[in-house]
Amino acid sequence: MPFLSHGSYRIRYELDGPAIGPAYVLVNGLTQYAELWAAYRDALVAKQFRVATFDLLGQGTSDKPALFINQDDQVAALDLLIGELGDGPVFLSGISFGGLIALRYAITHGKRLSGLVPMSCFAELSPQLLLLGNAMRTGLILGGTSYLQDLLLPMNLSDQWLKPLLDKLDSVKRQGWLVNDVYALQNLMESFLDFEPLTPQLASIGVPTMILNGEFDFLTPRALHETLRVHIPNSSLVIIPRAYHAFTLEKPALTADLLARFAEDVLAGRWQGNKAVWIAPEEAGGALAPFPAGYDHLRAIPTQGMNP
């Protein structure tokens, strides 16, 4: 199990796939760990991508700083990992908290990237997200990791995914509970205490950017992704049908296919961001459809809008 060193801390990472060729770097969400990307490794490696996964500081098998975790340290750790990939094209994707770290990286190290895919992501804390974050932190403090998982599972996954697992949720939660420590999760959450919105810096992201947002994402709804679409110049927004915040867990085949197609289009010079809004197919391999002209993609009912 290889590790990178950031100061006195060790960051556990894994590289899979051909050493030569384009690479995908995948950044975990807050309560996640690198093994959750296994299906992505398989799918992307099969398409000749090199795949880099890792545990952020405070997660999984990486070191867990006891008291303070700064988001700049996460970006530095990510930079160390990308430094392991050589000079080839690098595509960076992250979900939720990991998407935020990916955004920060793209702002400060954008020249190293060929493409960016923020998923279920945000550049600022809306009042709802701030209060939900506070409630989750309180839940963690009062009820431990297990209670936080109890909150997140129904909020972030669909009935279709949850229903067959209802009588075995303890085993679904177990690995996340085992590898995540209360104090480390709390430190990750408290890295938002001095959070400043990234919105003013989004315009500096010059790389092609595909923003992925679940149709029913409750935690980070469409409006937060719209901020990214509006401010990142070469971006487009892709809405994943019937998906919630944690669609990377629920729809790995579809999401991995979208990641691969995005990178292939960028490398082939076919990618046009145009700040367009698209609807992803239901299944991997299907065609993306443009959001219907004249309707407001920020609404949940078909309301005529200014401009998609």
Partner: protein
Amino acid sequence: MSEFFGPLDSEGRVPPRQQTRVAAFLISAHCALARQFAFTLPMKLDSAWQTELNAQLHRESEIISLLLRATSWVPDLTLGYMAASWETAWFPAPMEGIPDRSLAVTAGLATLAHAVHAGIRPAALLPLEANADDPFVMALRRIEFESGRLLQAQILFLKGPELAPFRNAVSAALERRHAEIGKLWAEALEGVGITIPRAE
């Protein structure tokens, strides 16, 4: 070697030798915290924060009482040697780099309590098949849960305004404490066939 307790008996109970080793370590650590909290707690409270100190003392006592009663004890000849090294590790260690002696002692105690409450996760040793109705299993889950709550006082204090000017010293001392106690915990477990990631 396994990451979990076992092999469990037919009723899903943890082997008594493993129960004894783990309970002895936890009693030693929480007893040290209880002693140090007791010495710090005045007979008459004169600050609001001391109510938390009172709560910490009694939660530690509860943990000790629980382990004494929930554990299936068996003789463990290595305990004498190990307990001596544990007790030495719990000695009060005023935090270096803080000129105010009283604050340095309190900060040192907070790092010990943080390392014990945050870094020691006895319930994570329980395999899925452990009998949820067994008192030792229930005790470990309760201790880990309560530790997460007790930890909040240490986090508030160590991140608080009094220690803000000494952030680097606090961070370094706390990392040292975590590494030291994590190592002792790993060594205690290795002797009964359990392996966990070792602090370097």
